[in-house]
């Protein structure tokens, strides 16, 4: 295996690890807001590391750019998604874990 392949495999494994962490977080965290936190880790780092790992080994610049574009879209969407869902949850009356709801 060439060093580049090793590096790419390392990124892929790290990405998969973050995806696993996110899934475990969504399963185990106590309330909606904590689970949102886990979700954004998958969006940002999980997919990001997988994309970087694949881009390192991609056959052309266009492919690598398209991969990064996919990640960029997910990043943007994730930033807004997280805020929007959290706000919707708050308005629906989900109580943050261990805290008190603002009057």
């Amino acid at each position: 295996m060439s060093p580049l392949e090793l590096l790419s495999a390392a990124f892929l494994f790290a990405g998969a690890a973050f995806c696993l962490a996110g899934t475990v977080g969504v399963l185990r965290f106590p309330d909606v807001y904590c689970r949102l936190h886990a979700l954004t880790k998958v969006d940002n780092l999980g997919l990001g590391l997988v994309v970087v790992g694949l881009a390192l080994r991609s056959s052309s610049w266009a492919t690598a750019l398209k991969l990064l574009l996919v990640w960029l879209f997910v990043l943007i969407s994730s930033a807004f998604t997280c805020q929007l869902i959290a706000r919707a949850a708050l308005r629906r009356g989900a109580v943050p874990w261990g805290g008190r709801r603002e009057p």
């Binding site: 879209f73 943007i76 807004f80 805020q83 929007l84 706000r87």
Partner: protein
């Protein structure tokens, strides 16, 4: 590894389909349906059918998920007593079993080693003006199917507006929300870019008017849901033109060869590629508008409903 992946998908899909049907809460069913659409797109991807995976991603999951989610706000969350009804109707079970058997028989009766029409399409692809066989079939070899399909879509849009004729104007109140405003602002260029790319890529790979139209409609849906844009009104001239550009142009291109001694939908080989591209561009606008027509605005306030009946 490939076997494991395929086997897992084959197990997950029926499981999710069962969960969607079994769930009594409508909102839960919608969430599960979105997950089901995602997995079925993966399934199509594994079956070497990227064209269908793309349509599933754009129309089947992206837009339908949003439409179902939005429809929830128009419905009352009162699940019918499904179980009691199922107990009363054993013949439903029988009919389902019969349908399953029929479908299974139909699948098994298919010729197993038939090459299909793929070889013929490949042989004549040079004449079609495009390099991707699916686009060649859809817009050249069997163009009349697509033409009629567009007509069906127009009728569907008319039906959707007939069921819910009310439309609302953009409100400046809701448009002030900075979050969705910024999201819409950042999404729009990306949507336009990808829609254009999908039409362009249809020439030599999976892509085309349906997918591009769905992407454009996605932007429109965000605009409608955040009250940035009113729901499209049938009375508006612009909406009518958007709905008619695709079909009119397609019919024009289809009829034109008749005047020069050709047959209906017989594209001259030299211009076939360009003509298909132009038709796809126009169809994209029409399809986006048709899909937008399916999105109703906000539901009228609940208080007035009881007295109205």
């Amino acid at each position: 590894m490939d076997g494991l992946l395929d086997g897992c998908l084959a197990l997950c899909l029926p499981l999710l389909a069962y969960l969607v049907l079994r769930t009594e809460s409508l909102s839960q069913a919608v969430v599960l349906f979105v997950a089901f659409g995602l997995l079925s797109a993966l399934g199509w991807a594994r079956l070497e059918a990227p064209d269908i995976a793309l349509v599933e991603a754009a129309v089947g999951t992206g837009l339908t998920g949003a439409l179902l989610m939005h429809t929830l706000s128009w419905t009352e969350e009162t699940p019918p007593d499904v179980r009691a009804r199922a107990r009363r109707r054993p013949w439903a079970l029988l009919a389902m079993a019969a349908l399953t058997l029929l479908l299974g028989w139909a699948v098994l009766a298919l010729p197993a080693d038939s090459p299909g029409l793929g070889l013929e399409v490949d042989a004549r692809r040079e004449d079609s003006g495009v390099k991707h066989p699916v686009t060649a079939v859809l817009l050249n070899f069997r163009g009349y199917d697509t033409l009629l399909e567009i007509a069906v879509l127009l009728v569907a849009a008319l039906g959707a507006r007939a069921v819910n004729p009310r439309s609302e104007r953009a409100s400046s109140e809701a448009a002030k929300d900075p979050l969705t405003g910024e999201l819409f602002r950042m999404m729009t260029p990306a949507l336009l870019l990808v829609a254009g790319y999908l039409v362009w890529v249809g020439d030599h790979g999976p892509g085309g008017a349906f997918q591009a139209g769905a992407i454009l409609a996605g932007g429109g849906v965000v605009a409608i849901l955040t009250s940035r844009m009113g729901t499209p009104r049938m009375s508006s001239l612009r909406v009518r033109w958007a709905l008619l550009t695709g079909p009119l142009l397609f019919i024009g291109v289809a009829v034109a060869p008749l005047f020069s001694g050709g047959r209906l939908l017989e594209f001259p080989e030299k211009y076939a590629g360009t003509l298909i591209f132009i038709v796809e561009m126009a169809l994209t606008v029409t399809i986006a508008m048709v899909l937008l027509m399916f999105f109703p605005g906000t539901r009228p306030p609940r208080t007035g409903r009881g007295s109205a009946r």
